[in-house]
Amino acid sequence: MAAKTGVPIRKACVIGAGVMGSGIAAQIANAGIPVLLLDIVPKEATNRNAIAEGAIAKLLKADPAPLMSSAAAKLITPGNIDDDLDKLADIDWIVEAVIEKIEIKQSLYRKLIDKRQPGSIVSSNTSTIPLAQLTEGLPEAFARDFCITHFFNPPRYMRLLEVVGGPKTDPAQIARIAAFGDIALGKTIVRGKDTPGFVANRIGVYWMQAAVIHALDLGLTVEMADAIMGRPIGAPKTGIFALLDLVGLDLMPHVDASLAASLPAGDPYLSIRRDFPLLTKMIADGYTGRKGKGGFYRLNTEGGKKVKESINLKTGAYAPSTAARLESADAAKGGLRALVTHADAGGQYAWRVLSGMLSYAASLMPAIADDIVAVDQAIRTGFNFKRGPFEMIDELGAAWFADALRKENRPVPDFLETAARAGSFYKVENGRLQHLGLDGSYRPVERADGVLLLRDIKLAGKPILKNGSASLWDIGDGVACLEFHSKMNAIDPDTLTLIKQSLDHVGKNMKALVLHNEADNFSVGANIGLALFAANIAMWPMIDDLIGQGIAVYKAIKYAPFPVVGAPSGMALGGGCEVLLHCSAIQAHAETYIGLVEVGVGLIPGWGGCAEMLIRYQPQSAKEPKGPMPPVALAFETISLAKVAKSAAEAKQLRFLRRDDGITMNRDRLLADAKAKALALVAAGHQPPKPAELRLPGPSGKTALTLAVDGFVAQGKALAHDRTVSLTLAEALTGGTTDMTETIGEDQVNKLAKQGFMSLLRTEPTLARMEHMLSTGKPLRN
């Protein structure tokens, strides 16, 4: 049988249309790969594909959306395993995601043996069954092509994909699926071993169990536990109990039982598991978390008011939730050691949980993974921790941690001793990040081909330019990267200054510029706190200047004589969107959420967003309607409704991204892709665009939009101030006093937008909206 290891995966099939299976299918479709989604034929069903079809329908409704675009949805074909196994003939990868029962899985595999094409990969999404058992008794040829691909829920958003092969698995097949998972599906690949819970769950479930039992032992309230087990330790803010509510309380006993059943005797996990009668009772009573009647927290709506309540871990009674006040939670700002050495209950709790979890992780090397990089990546991307266990030990200090364990007469894992002697698990040498091997020597942390990380570049050198809000880095081959790093990457005068300086520098010394950063969000927009404060003290000229400066700097990006490529990931909103709109090209991470959201705070885009959207909505084919009004109407709709694309693919539909802008699935590959795009533009002889000449409808267009807005107001869909904001926007988009017999430049549109912006900033409802957004993070409807 000829292995097809060199062949890319062009078509896939997912068997098992449950939450995980359908989510995996969705992510495969998000990558642009057609995928067959199969499940069993329900008993006495008229529609034999009912289960898979139902799963696809659910995908379309789920929030957060598993699908990145409507086009992706069309790539999923439903079917069933009784009628459709013949279709496997041209499938390159079959993912099994059926119930966690060995007999069922094996009987399915036997059915696949004759139907799959030779050399296709078969993988299981099992989280609990060892690979050795799964392939037991199956033909060698099947075992050679078989591995475990363990996704995390939800597959689109959780970055971790554990890939586990057995002794019989062809390493080339492992490499093939790992490459696909990495490049096409955008996942962080961690190569696990065939051990219980693989890497992430082995340590993560220990953490959850420890977090629960120590909270009980220390008599903490759920709020206190969550106040420590969240951000202070670098975990998601849900902490432990709110996390259990989120994932479902009933999941816990399953995971616990299967892990316990397969762990070797003497494993430390076995000593911390115990009965939790309250949990059992809650599940029995239907308190399974957010999907059920509530969990450790619930929203009590009796009496017409929504009261957030929490359960008393001792009595099981609900009472109104009260915020925990723990000094240790604040102390955590001074580092992990400050937290775990704090004398209060929170500090003791953090120490008990983390000391157990971290020494457990150290004791599992090399049983579960070949190196600590894999383990840290698994915990970061599978449990959304800020740091993995070895990174956490380094923050505590390896020697300090080992000493602290010794003082409590607890065992110190050998590998931790090694690190204590060496100094740390990671170190930077010659500008490169190194990690500690079990042999006590350091070796460089390797990045895959096509992965370029700004954090690596930052270790290796100094920025070309830097101020409090942004820095310029040399990323090689004549390309520079401009990094925002203000709070939430809000764009402020310092950012604008550094953009301007960067353009000057690159123009004189380099070939191209990439705008990119590795924060959660590319940029949440202009610093509205600054604008609000300045407005509150009536410093109108200063604000006017700031807008003018933004327009000028963004214009300089657009007309730079070299290519400027925007490479966003996460949110790119308001002024953070406008900066991208002025780039020569965009290479966006698939998970980019882009939009002009100014109306949410009672403003309109002031930094060129209005003009750029008018340009983007000009007809691009003969099929699109002609005349001055259609682009205005489209821009008006997008901006006045503050539409935010929920993915890069959707951003293309909304035309924030242009047709030839690129999308990168794996975030770690974004900078390299953007750099390549910039160099390609250089090679193609990049020329700045010609200034647009816009034919806009003028007052007649504004009248038409006014009628539409008045309609919304009359229907109660828009408020009086929405009308004010919308009409200010309409004034700018329709070109003020122009008419369709003449053309006007983007400068004029920008000027109108700036005037509109300033007039709105003087209104009470706009200022109230800005204040509300700043204090609550949510828009105010006033």
């Binding site: 609000l532 404060f533 509150n536 003290i537 009536a538 200063m542 200022l767």
Partner: protein, 594 residues
């Protein structure tokens, strides 16, 4: 001893012509406050203050209060004056009619308070404290508590106190030790020692209602563990009949620099029965609502003293003959010219007067907004007014009391050696005014409140309530040729204030010590801009009345405005410079330097 004549014309000018209180007749209380009624009230108050209170000011100071085995006797004449004051209904003037008050606007009461403070600051303490207790109970008390205590406080039959300070804690109330033990009947037993308790014990009323901050057994540590209690000297029955003596006593009265006729007591609570006011552990927020009123009231004390000092000084300056005018003989028939001809004496008098008049306008504006915040039909307008009052409170408290002290000092200076001896009563004003800069939060604390708390609320929302109307007004005013003379210097000062505010927001965000170091200068800068704005508004009115019969009155207003614009508001430049020079001149000094 200086005579005091209430500046009724000036007061009416601010109320009727500048603030136009008649335009607020849609608010509760204002409908009844027709110009006739207001005039009558003010005239009666003026008469009472000049006739009854002012004559007791110097004698009260000389005699002081007497302490004898827990009993405190006020100086001669106080008891009778208090009885008449209460009888005339002055205590209940701004109070809720449901409890026997007259429900008149707060701004009217501000004017009355000013007159009382000019006439006899010590006397004003007694009804002032009752007013604080009234406010706390009115806002946070139960229906039962209100029914029991408020009518007595409003009528003046009982008086009130605020028991906050303890030997180990003044500014930092988180250190309070006084304990409150819950009792089976729902009441509490208070044990502890409070000091500096104004009106803690005296002979003016049949009962004294103490509002006490104390800590419950299960209280969290610090400022979040403090509760407020009402603790009467005599336990009343439900009908308000005074009964058994509660277990509390005055241990001593303080010997003080000033306000000697006001009894400042050490109060010992020895398991005294008390009742919770408001929520457990939320005593500070309850106390703060009353403290905010009280801070404005202290600002009014500063205003009152300043007015009294000016009146004394100006009378003397017209009579006292010394030297000849530098510009030529002014009173050839006399052995020397009256000292009012000398530039430096004028500088002192006009400094007193031009600032005092603007302070009056500013304080009354805050009072007006207090009424709007309480009664306006639109929630947004109420919020805006509340914001403005919150912003102006530290400024009114600190600047007006600083000015009270300054004006009292200038008053003594105008008197020369005669100011320094006691007969003339001028030095008493300095001694009396001094405490106003200290209590209800020292003026340093007021400045911190402004920069640390008030600036950051809603990313500057409170500031908007001042900057928007004021900049808009000044822009319009600058365009009017006759008014530009006043508007332009104020606009300049405003620009400095805007820059200073932006500087503070940035520097203070990075380093709270910068904010602390700048606070005092910033508060004064802010105050001067506010006073400049008030002068513009007063000048605008005066300019429009140049044809009236009272031309001289309005000309005098313009003269005051001119002095302020030429000689006072330029201090903003200095303040801006010192403030933005940063903290290092203070903070970089090593501790062992001191």
């Amino acid at each position: 001893m200086p005579a005091y004549e209430a500046p009724l014309r000036d007061i009416r000018f601010v109320l009727n012509e500048v603030l136009r209180i008649d335009t607020f007749s849609n608010l509760p209380g204002f409908a009844d406050a027709t110009p006739d009624v207001v005039d009558a009230i003010l005239e009666e108050a003026a008469k009472f203050c000049s006739g009854e209170l002012q004559p007791l000011n110097q004698s009260g100071d000389e005699e002081g209060c007497h302490f004898d085995d827990g009993k405190v006797t006020t100086p001669k004449g106080f008891k009778e004056a208090y009885a008449k004051f209460a009888e005339a209904g002055w205590i209940g003037l701004p109070c809720d009619p449901a409890y026997g008050g007259q429900g008149l606007p707060k701004v009217i009461n501000f004017a009355v308070e000013e007159m009382v403070c000019s006439a006899n600051l010590s006397f004003g303490m007694y009804p002032g404290l009752s007013n604080g207790a009234y406010n706390a109970l009115h806002l946070h008390g139960t229906e039962e508590q209100k029914k029991l205590y408020l009518p007595k406080l409003v009528s003046g039959q009982w008086s009130g106190t605020m028991c906050l300070t303890e030997p180990q804690c003044g500014t930092d109330l988180g250190l309070i030790k006084t304990r409150a033990e819950p009792q089976a009947d729902g009441s509490y037993r208070i044990t502890g020692t409070k000091i500096f308790i104004s009106a803690g014990e005296h002979d003016l009323t049949e009962n004294i209602v103490h509002l006490v901050l104390a800590r419950l057994p299960d209280a969290p540590a610090g400022i979040r563990g403090i509760s407020l209690f009402v603790c009467p000297k005599f336990l009343p029955d439900a009908a308000g009949k005074v009964g058994e003596r509660n277990k509390l006593a005055c241990g001593a009265i303080e010997k003080k620099m000033g306000i000697k006729a006001s009894a400042t007591c050490v109060m010992n609570f020895d398991g005294a029965q008390a009742w919770l006011v408001g929520q457990k552990h939320k005593g500070m927020s309850a106390m703060f609502t009353m403290m905010n009123f009280a801070r404005l009231a202290v600002g009014i004390q500063g205003l009152g003293v300043a007015e009294a000092a000016y009146q004394g000084a100006v009378t003397y300056a017209k009579e006292r003959l010394q030297m000849r005018s530098l510009g030529g003989v002014k009173a050839p028939d006399k052995p020397a010219d009256p000292i009012i001809v000398h530039p430096d004496v004028r500088r002192m008098l006009l400094t007193q007067r031009s600032i005092t008049e603007a302070c009056r306008a500013l304080a009354y504006w805050a009072g007006m907004e207090l009424d709007i915040a309480a009664h306006h039909p639109e929630a947004e307008r109420r919020q805006a007014a509340d914001d403005l009052v919150a912003l102006l409170t530290p400024i009114v408290k600190a600047y007006l009391t600083d000015h009270g002290s300054l004006a009292a000092n200038l008053g003594v200076q105008v008197f020369g050696g005669h100011g320094f001896i006691r007969d003339w009563g001028m030095e008493q004003l300095i001694r009396d005014a001094r405490i106003t800069q200290i209590y209800e939060g020292t003026n340093g604390i007021q400045a911190l409140d402004l920069v640390g708390r008030k600036l950051s609320v809603g990313t500057g929302r409170l500031l908007r309530r001042f900057f928007h109307p004021v900049t808009a007004y000044l822009e319009t005013a600058a365009a009017k040729p006759a008014l530009a003379e006043f508007a332009l210097p104020t606009i300049k000062a405003m620009a400095k204030l805007q820059q200073a505010t932006a500087w503070l927001a940035q520097a203070g965000l990075k380093d709270p010590e910068e904010a602390g170091a700048a606070a005092h200068d910033y508060l004064r800068l802010f105050a001067l801009v506010a006073l400049g704005y008030m002068w513009c508004r007063m000048a605008e009115v005066a300019l429009s009345k140049q044809e009236s019969e009272e031309r001289a009155f309005y000309q005098a207003k313009l003269a005051g405005a001119r002095f302020f614009m030429a000689k006072v508001i330029p201090e903003t430049n200095l303040l801006f410079t010192t403030m933005t020079s940063g903290k290092n001149a203070m903070m970089a000094v090593p501790d062992d330097y001191f």
